[in-house]
Symmetry: C2
Subunit: 589 residues, 2 copies
């Protein structure tokens, strides 16, 4: 059995040399996040991930979360205690506001550490991830009273948070939300309705759960403009700030899922017994806007799940390929591990290249979020915000799609053993499969990129990004990078122009190929940056030479072996809808 | 819940118009396989698949095969009875030799019907598939006595067959087989050793199981040249031809697998109690050669699993996409099924195009096998044999790889519901994952294509295939097909030349990309043939216009949207090993 080891030197290299940790540390409020401090924090996180979370991953998968006879939810053995330790060590509040007890670390640091939690135990990580989204929604839009009552407990992890969007008839389409919220004389609301797919909708980690619930008030306009956001605690919080009477919310059932078994996915019934007490967040009918704030955070988080599970699948496959002896390796005497076989090496390199590409995408986006929040210059903030918003559907869509492929290759490297559950490779394949689906399917990410992000600003943010790539190319001399990347940039610029020229249906019809194409070019650029910085370090003798050489090799492999397939999508993007909408091709009925 | 419906008109169209059923029917011995008879057989098979096998698929997944306390294996409820019906209706002997009670139908017909079994219930189909391989090994190489004793019972399905190759240290590398076979004075052998991953290695369908076992005699040379093949029945067959005393073979455990739960995957211990009675097949030390005969058959069969599971995943996803209403569809009033959304249509079209491509590959290969066995002209037989042997790794490698992607898209079309096991889409995703692994991993298929099939005849068979594509292009006038296919043919010819020029390590390093590239071009050709024939039928008014138009649309989609990505692998194939073997890139230790 391979144990997870956080790739600390690789992570820190990308944080420092690609994502610009020093610049992030110099932002107001991040003075404590010096590169040395961050390295120490990562090392501690790595220990917790390897020592506590990783060993529980298999148990979580086998036992799963279960609905108890009394209606509560039992999490798998060891999870509750791990959560307690997680909170005691302060991990829950790592990047949260010090005003509510957080440690105020940058998103960049949180992203790297979230990657570790996800590598070690994706089902566990969902709980703090969702709590983080709920914190953000209350923090940005809630009243002072809501903030004071809920945030300190949620930042410490004493209470967890959930996002209640989906209903049976309202998944990707939130306009169809039917849950009702009826105003009460005391200013609160009574909530009635059923929500499905609620991650950690019930569990036994904590003595309260804070549900963020989308619902409609009686006079609300139809569609997305009539949705409001409510805080609905599992136990009503008294004047003393402590959980009191049980609220009228009940976990009706848990889903039987393909993976992430340790994460309870609940069907919640609100208001069956007279109405659940809820408190409005912000103003009525603005719920969707608020929800999108936490959604963006969650989408980024799901992208980091892709990075984490991809890294873990790679580690396990590489360890197996080193141990497993089978057949002679060309040019070697006798037998050696299958890692010597070229075809196995190709699989491992693909896994590694895609994981490193999505890591770079994720960290650079996290750093941009930090600048967007903290930079003293509003112009810089706006520029970084536009970049981050452009990148979030790419991070979510591409990192999760490649992670699924990486997890599948991980199974393949194991051969027949990969298909046996005890080996562990299959769990990543099952767990990873959710990431392209939740927090907005990857199809929704592609539409977000094509419409709100690209057409929404007439391509300005994408052009700015292309400009950065062009700037890199102007200064880079290594032909192995310049050639493929220049071609990639040209193809991307052409595809962007095509997308802007397309009619809306055509833009939607090729949104997914466009996301793949754009993500691959941006990934190629970031890996080329990684290679340039690695070469510079090799030249001046700073850093582990083997680690640095491997980074250059990964970048080369990505640009030569992976990028070309995505660039081939240019003709698909250019063609637009073609015959896709024709009933003759695919009947609607 | 969507029920499987055999796509009879589509299947028959491909059999008749692409694979040349009429030509197959005119081969000696296939007089009964007239197109009309075949259509009637397919219709009956479709009923059995939909009515009996498909409803058991979910049960099989949920209950799985289990090791009973008494050591026997219990298959899931309903499977034993389904197997009995399957045999009573004669399906087991469909394409088997009439001399042993079979119906002597062509491989082409068997391929189409196997596709149905696999669509309906892949775990069930494995049993007749393995029996078929064992029949072939005995039929081609066994003594008359072995044939008379075993084949009639195996053709009827009264006894099933297994293939015992793998041992813990001998998977892809059969040179490492250690199981021993010690000659006895009566001409039999005693077998000692452990075999793993034995599909249907034990079960309760029948009162005997015929194991085909690879083992070494005491004086055998090392490596693959010292492997012999033995028949080892579960119950020793007496002079009366009936199963007698239990042989010394024991099912030690069943694997806990990612999918195909209804198929018992056994660890078998031979000879723990003094030695299992075995009978040599053919001559000593020729076992690997014999095994490759049945292996080829099994590899083709696994390719058809890819077609079958892909078709089923498509049907379920399309049915869901028609029912599920979510969001407004551009250009439509109100709401309609998500099948109206361009991004969902792209997913469905991809699923369909890849499934139809692999169906065409499979059927054409099956027809070639029929010609290779039966054509009166030895030159034609040789040509068809070379084509079929070239195609088998492509059918296995490509159809299973695309099926896995298709099954994954099937999950994605379902959104969050796809991740819930009860929906059924996830089962295909899990079941399909084995196909790229067993009967030779897809990496092994790629090496087989690159080495034995391509370099083995200096590219002659591939060039002959390219010649057929060129011939098609010379006569075709529709530019939407000619353009992409001509480019594909040029790229393939160049890649083939590169493969032949590569050093062996380079050829192995890019064998997988080469297989993808070659498979995609050949698929594109066959779909273009399909489109040409469909257009001809539309022009002369024979056949269902909607079905025919859809075939043309699928071919166009494949050539415009799917083929280009595979062609982009040309540069990867051309580059060869590059830095892939460097320790700096990927350390061995």
């Amino acid at each position: 059995m391979s144990q997870y080891r956080a790739p600390l030197t690789e992570m820190l290299f990308v944080m420092n040399d690609v994502a610009g940790l020093a610049d992030v540390s110099s932002l107001p409020g991040f003075e404590d996040a010096s590169p040395d401090t961050v390295a120490a924090i990562l090392e501690e996180a790595g220990k917790f991930a390897s020592g506590v979370l990783d060993p529980l991953n298999v148990v979580g998968d086998r036992e799963g979360a279960r609905l108890r006879d009394d209606g509560g939810v039992a999490t798998p053995p060891g999870f509750k205690d791990a959560y307690r330790q997680f909170c005691e060590l302060g991990w829950n509040g790592l990047a949260k506001d010090p005003e509510y007890g957080g440690q105020g670390m940058p998103q960049l640091v949180a992203a790297a550490i979230d990657e570790m939690w996800n590598s070690a135990n994706m089902a566990f990580e969902l709980c703090p991830m969702l709590t983080g989204g709920a914190i953000e929604a209350i923090e940005m839009n809630g009243s002072d009273e809501l903030k004071q009552r809920y945030l300190p407990k949620m930042v410490s992890g004493e209470w967890t948070g959930t996002m209640n969007l989906t209903e049976p008839q309202a998944g990707s389409d939130l306009a169809a939300v039917r849950t009702k919220a009826v105003p009460q004389p005391d200013g609160s609301y009574k909530i009635y309705g059923n929500k499905i797919f609620i991650t950690y909708g019930d569990h036994d980690y904590t003595d309260n759960i804070v549900h963020l619930v989308l619902a409609r008030t009686p006079d609300a306009p139809p569609g997305v403009k009539g949705i409001s956001l409510f805080v609905v605690p599992k136990f009503v919080v008294g004047a003393d700030g402590r959980p009191g009477a049980a609220n009228d919310v009940r976990c009706v059932s848990l889903e039987h899922k393909l993976g992430i078994h340790a994460s309870p996915t609940a069907v919640l019934a609100f208001g069956d017994g007279g109405g659940a007490v809820g408190h409005l967040v912000g103003r009525e009918n603005n719920g969707l806007e608020y929800m999108f704030v936490m959604m963006n955070q969650a989408r980024f988080g799901v992208g980091m799940q892709g990075v984490g599970v991809g890294e873990r699948a790679y580690q396990r496959a590489a360890a197996y390929a080193r141990e497993r002896v089978q057949g002679r390796v060309a040019g070697e005497k006798g037998t050696s591990g299958i890692i010597g076989h070229p075809d196995v090496r190709r699989m491992l390199m693909s896994m590694r290249a895609c994981t490193e590409a999505s890591r770079a995408l994720g960290y650079v986006t996290a750093a941009a979020l930090d600048h967007a929040h903290r930079h003293p210059d509003e112009a810089v903030r706006a520029k970084k915000r536009a970049f981050a918003e452009l990148m979030i559907p790419i991070v979510k869509g591409w990192s999760t799609e490649t992670a699924q492929r990486t997890a599948s290759l991980g199974v393949q490297v194991h051969g027949g053993m990969g298909y046996i559950e005890e080996t562990g490779a299959a769990q990543y394949y099952r767990d990873a499969r959710i990431a392209p689906i939740y927090e907005g399917t990857n199809g929704i990410q592609a539409l977000d990129l094509a419409n709100r992000k690209l057409r929404g600003d007439s391509g300005a943010a994408m052009q700015a990004l292309e400009g950065e790539i062009a700037q890199f190319l102007a200064a880079e001399t290594d032909a192995t990078f310049v050639g493929p990347l220049r071609r990639g940039l040209d193809v991307l610029a052409e595809a962007r122009a095509r997308m802007l020229a397309h009619d809306p249906v055509s833009a939607n019809a090729v949104a997914t190929p466009f996301l793949r194409l754009a993500a691959s070019v941006v990934s190629g650029w970031l890996l080329a940056v990684q290679a340039r910085e690695a070469a510079a370090r090799l030249a001046n003798g700073s850093g582990d030479p083997a680690m640095l050489k491997a980074r250059i090799a990964v970048a080369r492999f990505y640009l030569s072996d992976i990028l070309p397939q995505s660039l081939a999508l240019a003709s698909v993007v250019a063609a637009g809808k073609g015959e896709l909408m024709s009933e003759a091709v695919l009947p609607l009925g």
